[in-house]
């Protein structure tokens, strides 16, 4: 599903942030992405989200070389990828329901088509009672569940999570990762970036460790 071959990444004329990345991620797998701050986790996730192109090497996703795709094809591919951020990135002027429904709305679907799906998903993540609430009124855990719901409402094949537990307490962190694990059981490929050792120890998923711009696969 995802294959990196000697991939390097630099911003402008700066030094390489990621160097000679070569690894493969199978469909339906769950990987932790770890590494110290500044090691390039977010840059790697941005490559996987297709918001950056490799400076060199080959990144293949869904059987296609990303560098050779035009913008429309990249956009189509991006719709198969969901993303969850540490800082949630919900739109404060939209309700929880509207935030979660946003990926379907941008596809041009009418609300009558997705209303029941979004409601069901919000109830599944425990936000059935908070559908009309605006994000500033949600707790950290509720925001993150809304962000996860938004990431999965379009049934993505790959779900990327950038420090999704960074703004919640350790107990809720474990619950959220269990939620990701449930999504993984449904067939979604998950790459979850975290530097919380307690989480890595609590779950027996393979780890990709990034150090000095280079990746090492464990497990």
């Amino acid at each position: 599903m995802i294959e990196f071959t000697n991939v390097g990444l630099r911003y402008g004329h700066g030094p390489e942030i990621l160097r000679d990345l070569t690894f493969r991620i199978e469909p339906g797998s769950f990987h932790f992405l770890t590494g110290p701050s500044g090691s390039g986790k977010t840059s790697l996730l941005r490559l996987l989200l297709l918001s950056l192109r490799p400076s060199r090497g080959t990144l293949t996703m869904f059987g296609k070389n990303v560098s050779a795709l035009n913008q429309d094809s990249l956009l189509d591919m991006r719709r198969h990828i969901g993303i969850v951020f540490q800082e949630f990135r919900l739109l404060d002027h939209l309700t929880t329901f509207e935030n979660v429904a946003l990926p379907l709305r941008v596809l041009g679907q009418p609300e009558s088509m997705y209303r029941s799906n979004v409601t069901e998903l919000l109830e599944w993540v425990g936000l059935g009672e908070r559908m009309e609430a605006l994000p500033p009124l949600l707790s950290g855990g509720e925001k993150q569940r809304a962000a996860i719901a938004r990431a999965v409402i379009g049934r993505p094949d790959i779900l990327l999570a950038d420090e999704p537990t960074g703004n919640v307490d350790s107990e809720l962190s474990l619950r959220l990762v269990r939620l990701f694990a449930e999504l993984n059981k449904l067939g979604t490929t998950i790459i979850l970036a975290t530097h919380e050792l307690s989480l890595l120890d609590a779950f027996d998923f393979p780890r990709m460790s990034l150090t000095d711009g280079q990746v090492k696969m464990n497990g």
């Binding site: 918001s51 990135r89 941008v106 425990g126 449930e182």
Partner: protein, 320 residues
């Protein structure tokens, strides 16, 4: 699955609830666009465009009306010459004029009427019988194109002191002046449009910068640049219409107020003379329709400009 959900979900009885019917909020919040400032700016631009357009319409209508009225009349002037009998010459000139093809009527301006015409310059109570002044004969034309004025001019050479005044030089000057004013008005309109485009470009860029988070989120969830541009365009179109309607109504109101003020400030006689010379200070239906047409034009211009600016902004910042 059930286990994970139970971990984070509230009790089941609190969750069973049908999805309510709802009004979906706009993706680009209204308050995030520099709304009031832009509405005011577009209102001012529409007002200026409306006043300019109205002015052009008034000038053109007056010029056409004046030129048409003047074009349907020519004047024969007979200067007093010693040894010539004025009344006889006047009768001969009227006969010659009436015999010319295309002329519908000809009559001499009486001494009393001549007196009234000269009154503003020479004062009242003047006895023109004591003065030897030229006499005028007004010749009414049917269709000015069918009249053989050169024939009339030739015939009038038989009368000593008679000349034909066709007002051609006046009409030419008037048409040139009207065309210059219309051209200047169109130039001003173009400059207003250009200024509006520039203002909308700056407002859009400012709005995009302040809504960067929304744009990024839309990109992350798979929105195309076209979709994002459409969302911003819709917001700017709405602002453009609001500003346009305010400015357009202001311009129409301006013309009504000025027409009303002109009628009440000037005495009836002066107002009538001005009306005769320059036309009535009234827009008419075509002028109002013209100003109304400015509203959708400026709103559409605002929307298109914002869309192009957003597309350019997105292509510069999307990173792909």
């Amino acid at each position: 699955m059930a286990e994970a959900v139970a971990d984070i979900a509230p009790p089941a009885e609190a969750r069973a609830k049908p999805a309510p019917k709802r009004n979906t909020a706009a993706i680009v919040p209204e308050r995030s666009v520099a709304g009031r400032t832009l509405v005011l700016l577009i209102a001012i631009m529409t007002f200026l465009s409306g006043v300019t357009l109205g002015g052009v319409v008034l000038v053109q209508k007056s010029a056409i009306a004046w030129s048409s009225d003047v074009g349907r009349q020519v004047t024969i002037q007979i200067r007093p010459i010693e040894g010539e009998v004025m009344d006889s010459n006047i009768r001969t000139a009227i006969s010659l004029a009436e015999a010319t093809p295309g002329v519908t009527a000809a009559h001499a301006i009486s001494l009393e009427d001549s007196e009234k015409l000269l009154e503003p310059w020479l004062g009242s109570g003047l006895d023109l019988a004591q003065l030897e002044i030229p006499r005028l004969i007004v010749v009414e034309l049917g269709d000015p194109k069918d009249v053989d004025l050169s024939m009339l001019e030739r015939d009038l050479k038989t009368i000593k002191g008679a000349t034909l005044e066709t007002h051609a030089a006046w009409r030419q000057q008037l048409n040139t002046m009207a065309a210059t004013l219309v051209f200047s008005g169109v130039l001003v309109l173009l400059l207003i449009v250009l200024a509006t485009v520039l203002a909308v470009v700056f407002a859009t860029r400012g709005t995009m910068a302040s809504n960067r988070e929304i744009v990024d989120v839309l990109h992350f969830i798979g929105a195309s640049n076209s979709f994002i541009a459409g969302e911003f365009q819709g917001r700017f179109l709405s602002l453009g219409f609001r500003g346009g309607i305010i400015g357009g109504l202001g311009a129409v109101l301006f013309f009504f107020l000025v027409a009303g003020a002109a009628g009440s400030i000037m005495p009836d006689q002066a107002s009538a003379q001005l009306g005769f010379l320059f036309g009535r200070f009234s827009l008419g239906l075509d002028g109002i329709v013209g100003i109304a047409a400015v509203i959708p034009v400026l709103a559409a211009l605002t929307a298109i400009t914002s869309r192009l600016t957003v597309r350019r902004f997105l292509s510069q910042t999307s990173g792909l």
